[in-house]
């Protein structure tokens, strides 16, 4: 996959030299890291043989929650109708805004909300044995709606600079978001590859029944997977919210297919039991390059999703045929 990405980049560079311009590269990387955070979380759920469709709604909800807690000023004309007006919100923001602890508390709250939604997903899937697709689809609808309801569809502006810095700040040429996601990826890699928990993730994804018989705490593992996915959703939300400098109830609305698409392109199987942090990275890299190139080609607006869809389809096909080829080898 890395080779493919390099190849794609090379080909693109030949035809569109400005793709390597520093501005475009910065743009590329700012798109890439939050997406990678999402894909990392998604990967844990995919390895379990599940799927988390609710990640984007987690982004929206946490963005709104974080925005509300941290904003220093709300326009009463816009937010009067919010159900939290007068309870938590006022023209000066929330009770905790404008203090030293605003940003850490806001971030903590965002992460907690993300994990809480993940916990609900995980409980429904693990304890009540509901299909993941169903559960997270309902979550997606419910929490997207909730985010809009809380703000009456308004963006929350005036976030503290200590927070927005996370989205725009750089060390040298490298944005903060890179380091945050690098840390996240490193942790994910160690957990998957070098801990008992990681082995349990693969075991559950490969055969739930064998895992139960073998004494794997399957419910706990599944719940943890969704909690981590929610956590990653919150991290992505923090990065996007900080970059946009506003809490947005519709944040990430169009990202869902990008996340799944990048994961599949990276080779993370939708059938469960397979996945690596590096695969996630390459999947995201390829996907971001592709969309970047497509948008630079200035194609008509409908062409981009068509091409993206085709690539995802191809990757899914590859996944299926790879699985089938393996089975054939056994038969022969």
């Amino acid at each position: 996959m890395l080779y493919l990405s390099i190849l794609l980049f090379g080909v693109l560079y030949v035809f569109m030299p400005h793709i390597a311009s520093s501005r475009n590269l910065a743009n590329l990387s700012s798109n890439m890291w939050p997406l990678l955070a999402l894909v990392l979380g998604q990967m844990f759920v995919l390895i379990l043989g599940g799927i988390d469709l609710s990640q984007t709604s987690i982004m929206a909800l946490t963005s709104v929650v974080g925005g509300m807690l941290m904003t220093t000023s709300l326009n009463p004309a816009l937010f009067e109708k919010s159900p939290l007006w007068g309870v938590l919100l006022s023209a000066e923001g929330s009770p905790i805004s404008g203090t030293m602890l605003t940003v850490p508390l806001g971030i903590l709250a965002m992460l907690l909300v993300g994990m809480l939604v993940g916990l609900l997903n995980g409980l429904a899937v693990a304890r009540f044995r509901m299909p993941a697709f169903m559960v997270t689809l309902v979550s997606l609808m419910f929490f997207s709606g909730l985010a809009i309801y809380l703000t009456k569809s308004e963006n929350i502006m005036y976030l503290p600079s200590g927070f927005t810095m996370l989205g725009s700040g750089q060390i040298g040429p490298i944005p903060y978001s890179f380091f945050i996601v690098l840390l996240l990826g490193g942790v994910a890699h160690v957990v998957l590859k070098h801990t008992v928990l990681g082995q349990w993730f693969f075991a559950v994804g490969k055969s739930l029944r064998t895992s139960i018989v073998s004494g794997v705490p399957t419910e706990r593992v599944i719940i943890l997977g969704y909690v981590f996915s929610g956590f990653c959703g919150a991290v992505a939300s923090i990065l996007y919210t900080a970059r946009l400098a506003c809490g947005r109830p519709t944040l990430g609305q169009n990202l869902l297919l990008d996340v799944i698409g990048a994961a599949v392109i990276g080779g993370i199987s939708l059938f469960g039991g397979k996945g690596k942090v590096l695969w996630a990275l390459f999947g995201v890299l390829f996907f971001v390059l592709l969309s970047n190139a497509l948008s630079m080609l200035a194609l008509p607006f409908y062409a981009e999703p068509v091409v993206k869809g085709a690539v995802i389809l191809l990757a899914a096909l590859l996944d299926v045929t790879r699985t089938r080829l393996l089975t054939w080898e056994v038969v022969a």
Binding site: V190, V191, H194, T195, V196, L197, G198, Q199, W200, F202, A203, K206, S207, R209, T210, S211, I212, V213, S214, G215, V216, P217, G273, L326, V330, A332
Partner: protein, 560 residues
């Protein structure tokens, strides 16, 4: 002199230079049943694939009714009248019997694409009647027992005009009654002049049914002749290529008084009733029963996979120190079933040698206790469970041997503190040691996938997985099903070794011979109840079988 319907002439086949079949020559006489036996990997499957048009032969040829026969696709074989009844049945469980019978050749209304439903139904009924099957053609296959499904398969073969029927391990999932019925039908078919090839690891069945026997080893016919001249011992020694004076390795049987597992009055409505069972230290206790007798269900209850409503399961004498040393996990999750029953608080219990006694007690009445009785808790108390279907519950088919064998004991190979980093090398070494001691034949354990192992080696991998946790009580449900004679012998030896080392084994099987050969005691279940228990000195086929059939007379009529 009977006429030969099928003749193999020097058939050879090799895969990538490895001979799978070498110069195989034999004939199938009309109206005869040919028993084909051999270890897994002896070439039976390849031979049948050539017959069925799945693979072409490299050399040699086949003659069908005197004509050259070289099918290139399975459908050509079907058209030529060769039908297969497979081990894994190829029926659509969501469709009716009729739909299954005619799935590829529905009678049409004239030349239209519409199905002539009435014709299909009446033909289905005729077919079922010809096999004496009291089934309604509209029944969904889903609702049929494995035995009935088998018979529907046969009906399907007959409906396609089969003259030669190949049975591949047809009795693996059948109850004794269903097996008898199948054999009756096979005999009827023979009387009607159908020729059959019967492949099975159950040599007793082969001997009972076959007119002629062929033994394959390493792709060659090593022995053949009329069944009357064969004995089970002769078949085995020819299959394995060495003399096994006894199928069952000798075992010294001495009963210890120490009880490691005690089951009292365990009941779950509709499943098991008032089960009393005592397992002693170092004992091999057989649990015999027909399919559906509740033996597997009981094992699942014991291992915490299924709940039970009333009764008690308690165990004693699990050496706590050893277990902790192996699993290396704090025992926070092992709840004491009934606080009243344990005089000491759990914390002090842990240091005393008595801990296992109380920790293992679980009260059925206490719903909370039932909930905490999970496989995980059972494993921590020193139990292990080799399930009857290794593909779905025993192994991670797409994972390596290391991942599989290491799965249960994984925490023991991690650093004690979170995030519990794994010591990969130690794990790999330990797994390799276990794999060697069990003689699992495979490539490197960290690269070979479980699905690429033969049945016997897969089963050994499952056993190895449990040995890694050094269990005190090992429950084995049909551990030798679907594995070849050589591997069976090895599994028996492993069981004996474990028992000699002090492990107590609950051995569940539907092969009475196996239990008679292996066990210190046999307990018989029927209809969810214990019907009797027999010490080794009082082992008696007739009495044990009679106990197993207790209350099953109605079942013979094939109602379900």
């Amino acid at each position: 002199m009977t006429e030969n319907v099928l003749q193999f002439d020097g058939v050879s086949k090799s895969f990538f230079g490895v001979h799978a079949l070498r110069n195989v020559t034999f004939a199938l006489a009309k109206g005869h049943l040919l028993g084909l036996v051999g270890e897994n990997g002896a070439g039976k499957t390849t031979l049948m694939n050539i017959l069925g048009g799945v693979l072409p032969a490299d050399h040699g040829g086949m003659k069908l009714r005197g004509q050259d026969y070289a099918p290139r696709t399975p459908s050509q074989a079907t058209a030529a009248g060769v039908a297969f009844i497979h081990q894994e049945l190829n029926l659509f469980t969501n469709l009716s019997i009729t739909d299954n019978l005619f799935i590829d050749r529905f009678p049409r209304l004239g030349r239209s694409p519409f199905i002539h439903k009435r014709a299909a139904k009446s033909r289905a009924r005729q077919l079922l009647e010809s096999l004496n099957l009291p089934l309604v053609p509209e029944t969904l296959v889903d609702r049929l027992t494995p035995g009935e499904r088998q018979l529907v398969e046969i009906a399907k073969a007959l409906s396609a005009g089969a003259e030669i029927i190949i049975f591949d391990e047809p009795t693996t999932s059948l109850t004794a009654a269903e097996t008898e019925r199948l054999f009756g039908i096979i005999r009827d078919l023979r009387r009607q002049g159908k020729s059959m090839i019967y492949i099975s690891h159950n040599l007793g069945n082969v001997l009972e049914l076959a007119d002629d026997v062929i033994v394959l080893r390493d792709g060659q016919v090593v022995d053949q002749g009329p069944a009357a001249e064969f004995t089970i011992e002769r078949m085995i020694s020819r299959m394995v290529g060495r003399d096994i004076s006894q199928i069952f390795p000798p075992r010294g049987s001495k009963l210890s008084d120490e009880v490691v597992l005690e089951v009292r009055g365990v009941s779950q409505p509709g499943i098991v009733k008032e089960i009393d069972l005592t397992l002693h230290k170092a004992e091999v206790l057989g649990l015999f029963g027909l399919m559906g007798s509740g033996r597997t269900e009981l094992a699942r209850i014991l291992f915490g996979l299924e709940p039970f409503e009333r009764g008690q399961i308690r165990g004693e004498g699990i050496p706590p120190l050893r277990r902790e040393a192996i699993l290396g996990v704090p025992n926070a999750e092992v709840r004491v079933g009934n606080p009243v029953a344990s005089p000491q608080p759990a914390a002090t219990n842990r240091t005393s040698g008595e801990r296992g006694r109380d920790a293992l007690a679980t009260q059925g009445q206490d719903t909370h206790a039932t909930e905490t009785r999970s496989p995980r808790a059972c494993i921590r108390r020193g139990m292990a469970f080799v399930t009857e279907n290794r593909r779905e519950e025993g192994l991670l088919m797409e994972a390596t041997i290391v991942d599989n064998v290491g799965l249960v004991a994984l925490p023991a190979f991690a650093l004690p503190r979170p995030p519990r980093l794994l010591r990969h090398r130690r794990l790999r070494e330990a797994v390799t040691r276990v794999a060697q001691s069990l003689r699992i034949k495979s490539g490197p354990a960290h690269r070979t996938l479980a699905e690429n192992l033969s049945g016997g080696n897969q089963q050994k991998a499952v056993i190895g997985k449990w040995l890694m946790s050094r269990p005190t009580v090992l429950i084995m449900d049909e551990p030798t099903r679907g594995i070849d004679v050589g591997a069976k012998f090895e599994v028996y030896s492993i069981i004996n070794d474990l028992a000699a080392q002090g492990t107590s084994i609950l051995l569940i099987s539907s092969e009475l011979e196996e239990l008679l050969g292996m066990c210190d005691r046999i307990v018989v279940m029927s209809k969810g109840e214990i019907q009797g228990g027999y010490e080794r000195s009082e082992f008696d086929r007739e009495r044990i079988l009679a106990a197993a059939f207790q209350g099953h007379q109605a079942h013979l009529r094939g109602t379900c």
